[in-house]
């Protein structure tokens, strides 16, 4: 379980994350939604220790993240940021191999190689594993980064808008893989999504942020309704039930 307690972050005088407390349930997919600038990325960066909070604390399995050793932490929590600028000429396979760095420090054993192969396979990258990252399309590169995080094999996986740049097929494929990681391997996934229909169809819980505060936090079914969405996005969004999915029709609201 990840417990976020009264977390606050200021940029200048503005609190971009303000007194946020939220519990991330283990073995579930929790989607973070909310308008641009709501503070989702900032919150994720603080949970993953990329950014220091001004006040408040984050506990991972009851331990204060600030007190954990970096190497231990990197075996429990991984993060993929929203935008990733990489100037290093690495092949997909080399990049994904570095996902094993916390365990192997660069000397890969048979187990590492098995996990790397599996991550490449999950992300449909086997055929192009020796291509350099800079030669890939935006979506292919995004998949390579996700494969790296999967190879890192942490209990908690934080993904900030991982579906950026991805086509429909691969978006669905990634959401299904995340579902599998959670259902079969007991991982906990925290994901920032802008397409609320992916949040609706694939997540167990939804946390909605707005202006740096949590405005909704609960099981998906409690959040995906016109009233809650109105509160979060200031839009009137009708909800349609299609087989067992609840689809938000926001295109012409």
């Amino acid at each position: 379980m990840i417990q976020v307690r009264e977390l606050t972050k200021f940029y200048g005088k503005k609190a971009v994350v303000e007194n946020v407390s939220v519990n991330i349930h283990p073995g579930k997919i929790t989607s973070f939604i909310g308008p641009n600038g709501a503070g989702k990325s900032t919150l994720l960066s603080m949970v993953s220790r990329l950014l220091d909070a001004d006040t408040g604390e984050v506990l991972v399995d009851k331990k204060d993240v600030k007190k954990m050793k970096s190497n231990d932490f990197s075996k429990r929590v991984s993060i993929l940021k929203q935008s990733n600028f990489m100037n290093v000429r690495l092949t997909i396979r080399e990049l994904v191999s570095f996902g094993r760095y916390p365990y192997s420090r660069g000397r890969l054993n048979a187990e590492d190689i098995r996990i790397i192969d599996q991550a490449l396979d999950y992300m449909d990258l086997m055929g192009m594993q020796d291509s350099y990252l800079e030669e890939l399309s935006g979506g292919q590169r995004q998949r390579a980064f996700i494969a790296m995080v999967i190879a890192q094999d942490t209990d908690y996986i934080l993904l900030d808008e991982p579906l950026n740049n991805l086509d429909m097929k691969h978006s669905v494929q990634i959401m299904k893989i995340l579902r599998r990681l959670v259902d079969d391997l007991g991982k906990t996934v925290i994901i920032v999504l802008h397409d609320i229909n992916f949040a609706s169809v694939y997540s167990d819980r939804i946390v909605a942020l707005k202006d740096g505060r949590v405005v909704k936090d609960g099981p998906t079914d409690d959040i995906i309704n016109s009233d809650s969405l109105k509160e979060i996005y200031d839009m009137d969004i009708p909800i349609k039930q299609l087989s067992n999915c609840r689809i938000c029709v926001y295109f012409n609201s």
Binding site: S48, R49, L50, S70, N71, D72, F73, S74, K75, S78, I79, K81, N84, F85, M86, N87, V88, R89, L90, T91, E94, F98, G99, Y101, P102, R105, G106, Y132, E134, Q152
Partner: protein, 316 residues
């Protein structure tokens, strides 16, 4: 670019280098241990070869580490002020200690090299506009400022002739007893190799490094210390060798990528080979005179550098 071929080339060129020169030495004449040829061989030719190989490998690896840690392909000891800071350090050591010993010079120059490089990295952190060309330009300006300070001080202290004469990279003065400081770069290169994976991760950026549990700041600092050590020993023994740290890592990167554990040996080998070629050409082109190595490397190197700049459109 297979490692095998590079090794063969290095051995071939080394052999050539040993037997090219004003005094005619043949392998056969070495069989007589007491001959004059053997003496020249041991006092001059062999040290020269060792110095070229160590300086070539060392400067290339310095450049490789700097490019990886600054995440910019055009940063190197030449384009980040490291060489100029070292030069200033040597001058300061000469002014501080009347007859500065090698060790004193080494320590002061090292401190300056490290401080200069750290300062440049600080400047780099603050620059918002991280254009690939703009950064080395800033580095060159920074280097020129340091260099003018050096010139000013040298002028005031009346050692300017002295200074510029022996800071030009030159292997013709390398002899037994004058280059042993370069041996320091051997353990430094080995340490760089042990840190190769850490440097590669650091090159992915601070956030990726933290995610993978790497102590980012510490690794960057260690890298810069290694760079400063290598640069100081090379400048003190051989003089300034421009461009090497810039072009060699870039060429290897194009062919082999940036996985340092895989590319570091190639970079070291190609650096040594390139410097050997420049040295041999410098010795035979206007035989029996010599063109200094910094001139040779400067001419060939700047040509390659321009080529790299122009092909940057397809590869940054």
């Amino acid at each position: 670019m297979k490692k095998r071929y590079l090794i063969v080339a290095l051995i071939g060129l080394s052999f050539l280098s040993l037997f090219v020169g004003v005094s005619h030495i043949t392998p056969m004449s070495l069989l007589d241990f007491k001959s004059e040829e053997t003496e020249i061989f041991l006092i001059s030719r062999l040290p020269r070869l060792v110095a070229i190989i160590l300086a070539g490998a060392g400067m290339s690896i310095s450049g490789l580490i700097m490019q990886q840690l600054s995440r910019n392909k055009f940063v190197s000891p030449t384009t980040a002020g490291t060489l100029d800071a070292t030069k200033l350090g040597i001058l300061v050591s000469m002014l501080l200690f009347a007859n500065a010993s090698t060790i004193e010079k080494m320590i002061v120059a090292f401190a300056f090299a490290l401080a200069g490089t750290l300062l440049f990295m600080q400047i780099l952190d603050r620059i918002k506009f991280k254009d690939a060309i703009f950064i080395p330009l800033v580095g060159l300006m920074f280097g020129s400022i340091l260099s003018s300070v050096t010139t000013f001080l040298a002028y005031r202290a009346d050692v300017i002739q002295n200074m510029s004469a022996w800071l030009q990279g030159d292997f013709s003065m390398i002899m037994k007893g004058r280059f042993e400081l370069l041996y320091i770069s051997i353990p430094v290169i080995l340490i760089a190799y042990l840190f190769a994976n850490r440097f590669t991760v650091a090159g992915m950026g601070e956030d990726f490094s933290k995610n993978l549990g790497l102590a980012y700041r510490r690794v960057v600092n260690i890298g810069l210390i290694l760079v400063a050590l290598i640069t100081t020993t090379v400048v003190l023994t051989v003089g300034m060798i421009p461009f090497l740290g810039l072009i060699i890592p870039n060429i290897i990167s194009i062919f082999k990528g940036d996985h340092l554990q895989k590319t570091l040996p190639h970079t070291a080998l190609l650096g040594a080979i390139f410097l050997l070629i420049c040295d041999i050409l410098g010795r035979v082109l206007i035989y029996p005179y010599e063109i200094s190595i910094s001139l040779m490397v400067g001419v060939i190197g700047s040509g390659i550098f321009l080529y790299l700049l122009f092909r940057r459109k397809s590869y940054a």
